[in-house]
Symmetry: C2
Subunit: 152 residues, 2 copies
């Protein structure tokens, strides 16, 4: 994987120079790549659910449920992608306010976790209207966090 090669090459290159910042810089870059990957997977699944919700794709309750389960699981994996030291690692759209308003940021992450877990739950009913309504609640938690903490 490019990610591994890049990180390894970076680590070795910086290590060879004897820099004590090597590890933290490399860790920051890896954290940025990790969280961006998690967001990409969330977006991949969420956008396919969105197409069903707005009628751009046929509503498939089984597929919708599978993607809801993925998003709920991925939401649980986001927080470890924002360690201190990853404010400036790699190319990031994460605003520095994340780390200066950490409690508010993690509260917003908790909103996503709670609402996406609720969406995973509601898919068991196969109630299309309920699934679509809960999808919108998840979407609002995405927007609420992006408004504050994601650079345009």
């Amino acid at each position: 994987m490019r990610f591994i090669h890049l990180s390894l090459a970076l680590g070795l290159a910086l290590g060879a120079a004897g820099s004590t910042r090597a590890t933290s810089e490399s860790d920051g870059d890896m954290a940025v790549a990790y969280r961006q990957s998690a967001f990409k997977l969330i977006y991949w699944n969420f956008s396919k659910m969105g197409a069903m919700v707005r009628g751009a794709a046929p509503f498939d309750a089984t597929d919708f449920a599978q993607r809801a389960s993925r998003v709920a699981a991925l939401a649980e994996q986001l927080e470890e992608g924002f360690p201190k030291g990853s404010e400036t690692g790699g190319v990031t759209e994460a605003k520095p306010e994340i780390w200066t308003h950490w409690d508010d940021f993690t509260a917003k992450l908790d909103d996503l976790k709670r609402e996406s877990a609720a969406l995973r739950e509601v898919t068991a009913s196969r109630d299309e209207d309920a699934m679509k309504a809960q999808f919108q609640k998840v979407r609002q938690t995405c927007g609420a966090c992006h408004d504050e903490y994601k650079a345009d």
Copy 2:
């Protein structure tokens, strides 16, 4: 997210040129970004488990179990990242043999899914030796597929 902006910009740019290949090229790039993201998340979690297995980090059975669960779920999400048309999308290390030997490739993906699901199961026992042994089986399925289908 950079991913969305890039895809959107690419789609708009190609769409404006009136190319009929715009959609498929954009879809290919998105599939490449999606599968690379899934592999990054697998690697992120798998490497932390690997550090515990080889003694480079303290063995934490709860953390190990959580990461095993993530990897098993992510393994299930890989196949849809390799649609026809994504052979040359983006910058990919996926060899074209994936699509000419599709049955063998998906059999190797099935090996990963089976062994990572078994690892998720075995973590319930909290038996450290059993967890480490099954981790190696998962690792072998990674290597078997990379040997054939991933460019160096």
